[in-house]
Every structure is written in structure tokens, then in C-alpha cells.
Amino acid sequence: MAGRLRSAIVQWLAQFWADLKASTDAGLLSVLRFLGLLYGPIDAKLPIDQAFRKAMSYRLAPHVGWRHAMGGIAYLLFILLVVTGVLLSVHYRPSAEEAYPSMQHIVSNVRFGWLVRDVHAWAANLLVLIVLAHMARVFFDAVYKPPRETNWLVGVLLLFMVLAFGATGYLLPWDQWAYWTAAEALNVVAGVPLLGGVAVGMLRGDPIVSGATLSRFFGLHVIVLPWIAFVLLVFHFTMVRRHGVAPLERPTGAPGVGRRFFPDHLLRSFMVAVLTCALVITAAVLWPRPVGDPANPARLPETIRSTWIVVDVSRALMHYLGVWGFAAFTLLALSLAFVPLFDRRPERSLRRRPVVATLGLLFFTGFLVAWMAGRRLRSVPASVPSEQRASPDSGVGASQPAPPADSAGAGATR
């Protein structure tokens, strides 16, 4: 009986495989191509096994090298964030009362919860850097020029998605640093003319940052933004596949002598992926994200530690250049986003487009410098009067220990 059942299953599978190989439906290959497991065009007229072999023997453009790996690394980090995010959401509870204790539970009690959380935090930071590095490569190679200008704009939107993911995820630990950084950031946004107040009113859902804000941010972080990012990613990859990797302005090698997709390119991609994962885990183990006291709307923290690269950059810009410097840097970033609309000439050499090159250099090096400077700052919430920041020099108070932060604040540990 069992032998007959087994032979029936084997027969069915063999028939299925034969049908699959004979099929000319290239849908399966399209999925593989979308996931980055296949490269180049797919011949939809061939039976699927022949189409697969043809696709595997595809050769990449000769100039495709390690510097083209940034986009792939960004995609890998995105997948890491999705996986670790799903694991975190199993234990995380998005309410003002339970967010902080659930985060402590993840770190203290869940097996490898600390690793999942810190890999999530580090991948979020590295994603910003890698996306910017990818965009810098695209920008300085002038790959944004026609016919790829739409894909550049989609890339810019994806960068905004990354920033939105980080901004909404930053509040979720619900500690003092996250709470007051979000509060200050929302106050700054509320000052933007016309739509600032309305947008902040909808995001905050309360006169102050509260449980209502946390629910909104969590909903955006795990439901709304992932769907938008998914649609944009599909569009981005489809455009890349359609237009192919941008050729060099002056090709040096003969066509068709580039690296084979399989196994050469896939092995190199595998090496990059392994190295990226190892580095993220190393960073997560050696420099875990510190946790502040539980969020307490009634008590301003003495200092706010930043745990996200964009907060470092914003803080440095606000500290050293003021509001106008911050606004100017934002305008510079926006101007780069819309460069393809104005810079449509075919020249791609940096020497022939000095203005654009200078703007790009200013933005990308400015971002790095601001990040380094922001790491050195230990900010104090802007709403704290300066006289309250220093403890009084009583000469006696110092000898009397104050009780640690009240655990009975919002989201206190029970």
C-alpha cells in the first residue's frame, strides 16, 4: 500500500516536472528575476527549462563590478529588516503602557531577542548609509539621465521610505530618548508653513506625543509603509531590468565579454551578502542599542542619546547651522532629487557638469560630516530652559543620591 502510494507520488512529481519543463510560461522565471536570482532578459518563447538555462548563461555588462553591489546590499538589508521586524512584532506590544516592558522582555527573556532587536536597529542605520552610497554612485555616474530619470525619482522615493521607516520605528522603544526626540521633531515639523500643523496633528493624534501617537507610528511602520515600499521596489527593479545596467559613456571592452551571471556573479553576490550579514551581526553584538528610562511626558531627560544616523545628522545641522542651515541642507537634498528634470544633456563626465558635481559633493560629504559631528553631540531637549540643565552647586546635594528615574512614568515597568 505504502509502496504504491510512494510510486504514485513519484510518478505525479515526474509528470509535473516534465510539464513544467515543457511549459513556455516564463512567470516563474520572472519571479526569480525579480528576487535577484536571475539576471538579464528572459526568452518567453522557449520551454521553461531552456529559458532558465539561457537566463543562467547570461553575461553581465563588462563594466559591472563591486561598486554596483550597493543596490544589492540595500535590498539585502531591507530583507533583514523585514525578517527581524516580523520576529520583533511577535513580542512587541504597541501601547504606551506595554511598549517599554515588552521591549525589555524581548531583550531580557526572549531567546536571541537581543540579537534580533539590535540587528534590526543596526540594519536600519546601515540601510541609510548604503542607500546614500548607492545613490551617490548613480548620481556621480550620471545614471539618472534619460531613459533612467523615472527610476532615479523612484529611488528618491525609496530613500524617503527608508527615512519614514526609521522615523516611525524610532519611537517604538518608548524610552525617554525616543519619546523626546519624536516630540522635538514633531514640534519642528509643526512649524513648517501651511501643512506642517495639519500633518503633525494627524500624526500625533493628541496635543502631546502619547499612546495615540505610538499607535499611529506603529501602524505606519508595519502596515502602511511596507506596502508602499513593496510597490516602489517592484517598480524600481522592473525599471532596472527593462533598461539594464547603464552602459559606460565610452565603452572600453567588446560587447558580450562580461562576467557570467551564473555562477560568477551569483558567487560574488553571495560573498557580499555573507559579509554584510556578518558585519551587521558584529555591530549588533559589539554596540547594542542602549535603552533610556521609560518614556515620561512629565519629565524631561537631562540628555538625549541618538540611536539613528538621521537624528545625528539633523541634530548636528540644527546645532551648528541653525534652523536656516537645516532648511538649506534639506533644499539641497531636494534639488538633487530633481536634477534629472534639468540635467538632460548626454554628457556624463563630472568635468562637463561642474555645478551638479559640486552640489552632489556638497550634499554627500555634508551628510557624512554632519553625521560624524552629530555623534559627538549629547543633546538636551530644546524645550528645557538652560538654567534647569545644570544641577545647583549646593555642595550638599551632590552627597545625597537622588532616586533613579521614576519607573511609574508612562509605560512604566510593572
Binding site: P101, M103, Q104, H105, I106, V107, S108, N109, W114, L115, R117, P263, D264, L267, R268, F270, M271, V274, L275, C277, A278, I281, T282, V285, L286, P288, R289, P290, V291, G292, D293, E387, Q388, P392, S394, G395, V396, G397, A398, S399, Q400, P401, A402, P403, P404, A405, S407, T413, R414
Partner: protein, 418 residues
Amino acid sequence: MRSGIVGAVVALALAGVSPSSARAVPVATRQGEPAQLDTTYGCIACHADKRTAFVQGVHAERGILCHDCHGGDPAAFTLPAAHRGRFTGAPGKVATVALCGSCHSDPNRMRQYGLPSGQVAEFRTSRHGRLLLQNGNQDAPTCTDCHDAHKILRPDDARSTVYPTNIPTTCARCHEDKRLMGKYHLATNQVEQFRRSAHGVALFRDQNFAAPTCMGCHGSHSALPPTVTEIANVCSRCHMLVGQAFDKGPHGRAAHAGKLAGCLGCHANHDTERVPADRIASACARCHAPGTRASTLGGQIQQHAVQATQDLQAAERAIGQLTLAGRQTGDARFRYQTALTAYQQIAEAQHSLDFEQMEDLTRRVRSISRDLRGMAEVAGEQQWEHKLLLVPVWFLALACLALAVFTLRGLARGAGPP
């Protein structure tokens, strides 16, 4: 008759109103909003400046108007007519006390507002009151010097001169006046000292209204400096447990016998501070000669106080480390509170000079502190153990990389798969 009508029209014009627009406006009763005065009220025709201050006050809010204190005829718009009858004008300092007391000493009138009616009686017993009412000394303040004459606000109104954070400034108007205080051989730096003191920091920086202002120790209407035997009782009104402990000890007995200035034996009056743990022995040495039993005890108390302080600070740091590491700290914080309570009880034992109790409490603080430090160390060790994970991670990663590199080299030599 005609001149009277002309005078009234001119007066109304000066006050910014016209007879046609003159209408009765109801007295506002909402707290915090300036009350509206009837524009047909004659006094404001000339005294518009007083009206501006008066309408913000609590008297206007309750419908008490100029003529209730100053007399005269508010329906008149000419000077002689307005100031006729029981017109008192601006009363002098002594008359002011009697004038305010005519209402504020009447319990039947004050009951409806929940106000006390003994202020004037208390004022008579105060140093200020005795100077003014018995000696006729015009340097002494009367009611309006502290409460203002027209803009009299509730004590819980932040603009009031007797709002807690404003009281030191109100007292300082006279008590920081070197010329005035020089006549009575009084110091003028009390308010400055108070601002720096633990009480001043609690009041001004922390906005802790449980902290005493000047009147917390001296009284308000019955303001007097506490005498030597009263000081301990004054401080005990807030520092009850420490006060009881002090009374039980030898210093308390000495204070009640008038041999020691109570709390002021170790603490200052206006620049009040705790005696730091590491300066207890030097405080004892002010009275007790080195080598005496009391001096030795002071040294031992200091040693325990310093140790307990360090232990508590270490416990606080341990909780900080646990928090930073994202560990659950509910139990640790609860235990810290227990240690903090024991630490505060050390202060009581210190005041009663109960050395055995102090030792016991110090041991309790140390025990809890050691436990909390142990918890922090365990968390630190676990973080170190996490680093061991990097060994298999990098072993696997390097193995994968090596495999990929060798495969790629093989492919380059043409030995790999096609």
C-alpha cells in the same frame, strides 16, 4: 446746576466715556479675568489709573468698590460732591489696618469666602504690628505694603505678591534695603541666602510649593523670628520624623533646655543645607573637642554615612546599567526604594545619635546595593558572553567566503563548472 452738568460731561469725556454710551456693565466674577466696572461710577472719572489696577483684583470681582473703603459719593462727578460725607481719602498705615480689619476681622463676613478672620489679631502680635501699632513706627509695613492697595490678588494667583515664589521678593523690598535695615541692625542678605539654600532650590527651581518660603518659618501676619527654644519645633513642622528623633537624643534635650540653638547648631537658618556626609565630623568638632567620646562618635557616624551614601550611589549606577542594557528593572527599582528608605532613616538615627540603629540601617543599604551591583554584573557578563557568538558567525562567514573565492579561482582557471 449747569456747572454741575458741564463738569460731569467733562469728567466723563476724560474717562473715555460719553453719557449716551454710559451703561451699567455687570461685575465680572470669572477668576483670572479683569472685572468690568460700571462706567457710571464717578470715582473713575478722575482715578482711572487706580481703576486699571483695581479691576484685576479680587475685591472688584466680589463687587467691593472704591467707596466701600474710601467713602465719598460715587454717583457724583464733581470733586466736592464726590468727596463729601464719610470720605476717608488715602488712609494712613495705622488706619489701613483698622480699615482692612473692619471686614477681614469679621468671621461672619469672611466665612463665605473660606478666609480666616484673625489676621489683624495676629498682626498685632508680630514685630511689624508692634512697631506700627504700639510705637507708631512708620517704617513698619501695613497690610497694603505686602498685599498692594488696589491690585489685591488671591495668594494662588501667580501675579500676587504673596504667591509662594513671590513672597521672598515681597519681603526683600524692605529686608534688602540696607538703609532701612541698618536702623534696626538687621542683615540684608537673608533672601539671597534663601535662594541658594535647599529650600530655595526646591521652591524656585523645582517649583515645589511644599518647600517653605519666609512665612513658612516666620509666619505671615504674625511674623517673628523663632526663639532659640522654638527653632526645633519650627523645623519639625515639616521634618517631623527627624524632629522626633532629634528630641529623643541628647541634642534635643539640650535644645529644650536652651543650651543649644536647636537645628541651627549644625544647619544654617536662611541658607539651610544638609550637612554633607563627609563633613559630619567637622560639624561635631565645632562644639566637641577632639579626642572626646562625642567627637569619636561623630567620626564613626560620618564613616557610616559616607559608606551608605557611596553604597546608594553604586546601587543607582547599577540600575542605570541595567536600564541601558534593556533589562527589566522593576524588581531592582523596588529594592532601590527599600535601600533609599533605609538611607533616609539613617538621617533619623543620626539625629537621635542612635549608633546601633545607624549601623543596622547602613548594613541594610549595603546589602541591597551589593545585590543590585551583582545584577548589573550578571547583565555585563551576559553582554560579554554575547560576544562569543561572533566566533561561530565569523567562522561560518569566512568559510563561506573562502569557499566562494576558491570556486571563483577554479572558474577563472577553467576547472570549475561551465
